[in-house]
Amino acid sequence: MARIGVFICHCGSNIAGSVDIARVLEAARKMPQVVYVEDNKYTCSDPGQASIRNAVKAHRLNRVVVAACSPRMHEKTFRKTVEQAGLNPFLLEIANIREQDSWVHSDDKERATEKAIEIVRLAVAKVARNYELYARQISLTKRALVIGGGISGIQAALDIANAGHEVVLVEREPTIGGRMAQLDKTFPTLDCSACILTPKMVELAQHNRVVLFTYAEVQSIKGFVGNFEVEVRQKARKVNHTTCTGCGTCWQKCPEKVPSEFDLGMGQRTAIYIPFPQAVPTKPVIDTEHCRYMKYQRFVASGEEDKKPPQCRVCEKLCPTGSIDWEEQDRVFTEKFGAIIVATGYQTFDASAYGEYGAGMYPDVISGLQLERLMCASGPTGGEVKRPSDGAHPKTVVFVSCVGSRDEAKCRPYCSKVCCMYMAKHAIMLREHDPEVQCYIFYIDIRAGGKAYEEFTRRAQEEYGAIYLRGRISKIYQEGKKLVVLGEDSLIGRPVELSADLVVLATGMEPSSGVVELAQKLNISYDTNQFLVEAHPKLRPVETQSDGIFLAGACVGPRDIPDSVAQGSAAAVKAAALFSQDYITTDPMTAMVDISRCTGCLLCTQVCPFKAISTQALRDGRVVASVNEGLCKGCGLCAAVCRSKAIDLRGFTNQQLFAEVTSLWQ
């Protein structure tokens, strides 16, 4: 039998001013199971709370209703109060007679009072059906998984490790470093990308709390915050990295040359290779598609003996440590984590989608990132800018902005943020490489928001003579050795025609391939551009709707290096904060299943936004729903769709809501 106490707050005159407290008291006293009523000037004040505690003891109350301000205001406060009084904090209900009554009906005391009475009635009806709820405590693995070894992933991993927790970083390429490693210099300071990145890469590789899996991918993810189980697939390198010393003989001697992915086709690599000299780990992998011996074996397998190429196996012969391992296969292993940081970054937009620019058709139409490789001292041309077609030094270079940005027609409505800056950087760098170079930059707007950014773009124009033309390019075509660029200068409203040696397309950012599949494995959401979605764009920028999964860097949207690094650190702090607890406390207001009623139609599993409902088989063979309280967020969708009412939501049970509805007519 419930013994309910009702405590009505005057809130000074805030409530008492427009609600007849005496009448509410009278009415409340008559309500079923109410054994005690009292009013206070300020129930939230210390004396107010004290008198609740006393009344609970004096009148053996086991349920409390506080009629005062909105629960969003003081529910927590009063939960503590009743807890101090020795009751379970969830045996409390708040009747919101201020925000939703006295303040909105101050003009009609009569009806405001009637409404107050019924608001109290609702709370009484509900609280009578409240019962003790206890937060469950779930242990957690203080170990983080970082997916993606770009700059923000590296930063996140380092920060977590330095906070004293183990970190596993998974990178699908043979080396960490990501896009930043491909850059020559960085705006606006123009310091060399490698010089600031590679030390971090090395620090990470050598950190005693960091385990690095390169050339590996996340295969599946189970579990929930604090208790993720992740399957990682280590792709076969055909090279034993424990014995390999990275001496380099193999990749110097390998006869098979293929276009280098890292150099975006501007240069070549061998079949056994490291992507670039400062790669981490500095140990090679064998590209099984191009490796001659692998081809040979495939021919043997296919029985086309006659066409088969020579066996090669040069690397194997020359390797001083005998680390070549032709038999090595993919390995899959499972690891436990408490938190996951997704830092999968971006890839550049494929400009061939713009037929009119002739990317892929004309060798001298290249992307900004390709130019980076051409300018990079450790790049294929040793930093000498030669154009792909004939190796000539370009004198006239035309830049086209917003290629794959701000273009509805190409389903890329967003601004990629960095292009304006790197075009300016390129204009400056090209002049520094060769004073005779003249750069023309076709832009829509110059977006240079950021510390020292605007100054930087000005320098490009004023000190380095880059000519900025506002307008889009309509067509690029080859005429002899030149590229004819047709466009419009929208400021003077005239068509312009330029003849260039090299055209650089400022291709925008898009999420890395495979991010959608990953998002689905993680059950986190992505937007129409396939960028991952943060829990709140402003207030929770590195969190997701799934607890324990955080975001960093360009996988969320276009970011430059400083932003990506900052986000890496931010995500790291979130993970570290999570690890600072010894267990995770779950909100007790979760769904629960009455297995005797459950028919196993499993509609609930289909509607649950958090995949929190799985199935369990009973001894009698029936299969019924079962809630994972770690994943359940308490939305109650399942309870609403359950026809047999077998699944219910603690804190908002069918009994409680039903009692509220009917109480209005009792």
Partner: protein, 330 residues
Amino acid sequence: MSQVIAREDLSRWLNSLMEERTVVVPVVVGDMVFFRPVAKAEDMTISRGNATLGPKGCLFPLSHTMFTVEQEDGDVRVIPSSLEREMVVFGLRPCDAQGLAVFDLPMLAEPADQYYRERREKTALVGLACAEACAECFCTSTGGGPHDARYMDVMLSEVPQGYLVQAVTEKGKKLLAKAPLKDMAVQAPTPPDVPRVPTDGIVAAMRRTFADKYWSRLADRCIHCNICSYVCPTCYCFDIRDYQQDGKTHRVRSWESCQAPGFTKIAGGHDPRADKGSRMRQRFAHKLLYFPEEFNNVLGCTGCGRCVRYCPVNIDIREIISDVQKIGGG
């Protein structure tokens, strides 16, 4: 010489009865017939055969408030419901009247059910003899007959000149006091032939078939839809529940059915008649075994044939009776 009421006089008489009584008559709704109180006798229809639902609801309502509890600061008042006006049920058939007689045995046996007793005492039954038997009727096999007047207060039987009137009880005589009756010599109509079912020794046979797997096989096609109990003139199972509304508590009694799953479920969740078979056997054992054993061989069935007519899967009590005779025959 016997008394006759002309067709046109019938409604006049009923209308006169309405002045101080509620008069319940057969009313046609679509292709169904119900017993309902009417404001004027002209609304009634005298149809062939049996009403969809018998008049049992008039004395034992589908759902009614037994009493209301009011709380007025501190003290509690209990207000029992009661029937203000007397009631006349007109046009019921012998089998339904016999059904009420069956009702009386348990309901009026002390301690009597006060709500039923009140209604029964305040109600007079004006019956109509059956001119023809329906295909599913078998009243003559259950101790009744198409012209059986025993359980009526007044019995009418259709004749060319109108209705032959027979006052059976004192209550009946009072009703007829103001009735426009004519004295004339009329031949009492002969009862129609009613198909017979062999019910002799059924009680013993039921005993012997109690453990037979016949029941569970029979129950295979039963969907325990409860219809049989609801249309049956002798089924009196009920359930009671309290309802809060407008500051009052109403204690409500409603029909229930022994065929409903969970009808016999007890605290702790155990259900002694969890399977269809035992529920089905319970129903027929109640009519053909327990009831006669309890109340000196009166069958708990009056052969109205409604359960036969309305069962969606044709579970036919007549078939069952003869099957049981075969299986458990001496």
